[in-house]
Symmetry: C2
Subunit: 224 residues, 2 copies
C-alpha cells in the first residue's frame, strides 16, 4: 500500500520557488519577490513561505538579507559537506568501501600532483614540512590532525577543487575508525608519508601510488 499523505504547504512553496527560479532563468544574485508577495501569489501565509525560504537558504539556494530581500544564492559543494559533516556515524557506509574509495581518489590524483610539483617547488616543500612534523607529534589527536592535513594538502596539490571537497567528505566518515590507530603504527606512518613525498618529487608516480595504497589500506587490518 502506498501511504498517502497530504503534501505540506511549505514543501509545495519551496517547490514553487525553485520553479520560479528556473523558469525565470535567474542566476546567483538575482532578486526574488519579497516574502509577502510570494505569500500572496502562492496563496499561503507568510510563515509557510518563510519556512520554505529558510530551508532553501540552508542549502544555499537562496540568500536573505534583513532589510533588503531575497536573492538567488551561490551554492557550492563545501556548503553541502559542511552541513552533512556532523552527520558522521549516522550514515552507515561500509568501511571497506570507504577505504577503497580513498585509495582510488588519492592515487588517482598523484600523476596530476607530480606534474604540478615539477612546475611549482613550493608544493614539495609544503608536503615535506608536513611529513617532518609527524616526528614531533606527541599524542594521537595531533597525529590524526596532521594526517588529515597531509592528505588534504595532497589533494589540493592536484588543483581539483571537487576532489578536495569529496575527500573532506570521505574523511569525516573515516574518523570513526581512525581513532583505533595504535601507537606502534605511528612510526610506519611517519616513514610512509616521507617516502611518498620523495617518490612524487622524483616523478616516480607508480612508486608513490604503491606507497599510498599500502598506507591507506593498512586501515583494513583494524576492521572488525
Amino acid at each position: 500500500m502506498q501511504t498517502l499523505r497530504r503534501p505540506k504547504l511549505r514543501d509545495q512553496a519551496a517547490e514553487q520557488i525553485k520553479r520560479y527560479i528556473v523558469s525565470n532563468r535567474l542566476g546567483p544574485g538575482d532578486r526574488l519577490p519579497t516574502e509577502t508577495q510570494l505569500a500572496e501569489s502562492l496563496g499561503v501565509s507568510r510563515l509557510s513561505v518563510r519556512e520554505a525560504t529558510k530551508a532553501l537558504e540552508f542549502l544555499g539556494i537562496v540568500e536573505s538579507k534583513t532589510g533588503v530581500g531575497l536573492s538567488v544564492g551561490r551554492i557550492d559543494m563545501e556548503r553541502v559537506t559542511e552541513h552533512l559533516g556532523f552527520h558522521t556515524g549516522l550514515l552507515d557506509v561500509d568501511p571497506q568501501q570507504l577505504i577503497d574509495s580513498r585509495v582510488i581518489l588519492e592515487t588517482g590524483v598523484l600523476p596530476q600532483v607530480a606534474r604540478n610539483m615539477a612546475r611549482d617547488p613550493a608544493i614539495a616543500t609544503e608536503l615535506r614540512a608536513l611529513a617532518e612534523r609527524f616526528r614531533v607529534a606527541r599524542d594521537l589527536k595531533s597525529w590524526i590532525e596532521l594526517d588529515i592535513r597531509f592528505h588534504r594538502t595532497l589533494l589540493e596539490a592536484s588543483g581539483l577543487q571537487p576532489l578536495v571537497a569529496f575527500g573532506d567528505l570521505l574523511h569525516l566518515f573515516f574518523q570513526r575508525f581512525r581513532e583505533s590507530v595504535k601507537r606502534a603504527e605511528w612510526q610506519v606512518g611517519i616513514e610512509s608519508h616521507r617516502r611518498l613525498v620523495e617518490w612524487l618529487a622524483a616523478g616516480r608516480v607508480a612508486d608513490a601510488s604503491r606507497e599510498l595504497r599500502q598506507h591507506i589500506e593498512s586501515h583494513k587490518e583494524r576492521l572488525p
Copy 2:
C-alpha cells in the same frame, strides 16, 4: 575587515540541535524533544526552533511527523542531489576541473571494475547492452540519458557506493555543457563506449583507461 553580523537565532538553534544529536549519540529514528521543549531549553520562541528544524528536515537531518514529534532522519546523498539538481547552471565550478575530476574518478575505478567483471559475467553483459543502445538513440536527450546511465553503471560495477554518489554529484554539475554535444560527435561516442567495454572484458585496463580518458576529455574541446 571582518564583516560583523548578528548571528541569527534560528541558525544558532539549528547548530544547537545538531550538537544535541551528536552529543547524545542519537541515530536515525531516535526521538528528539518536542518543539516546545526545545524552544524552552534554548530560550527562544517556538517559531525560531521551527525554522531551524524545518531547514534541517529539508536536508534530511531530522524528520517530523504531525502528532508524533521530531526524530533523527536518515540522510543520503540522493536527497541532497535532488534539491541541488535544479540548481544546475548556477554553480560556478571550473568546467576544466570538473572534467579532470571525472577522468580521475572513472579511470580510477577501472581496475576494480575489470576484476569484478572477471568474476561476474553479468556486468559485461549489462554494459554491452547499454553500449548497443546508443546506436538507436534518436534525439540528443535520450542520448545524454543513456550516456549518464552508462557511466553510472560503470561506477556501480566497482561496487563502491561512495564513488557512485560522488559521480552523481559531478554529473549534475556537468549537465551544463553536456547539451552542447554535436550530432556529429555521437558516432565517436558510440564507438568509444563499445571499445571501452571490450577492453575491460579483455582485462586490458590500461587500454580501457586511455579510451575513457579520451572520451571524457573530448568535452574540453567544447569549452569556451
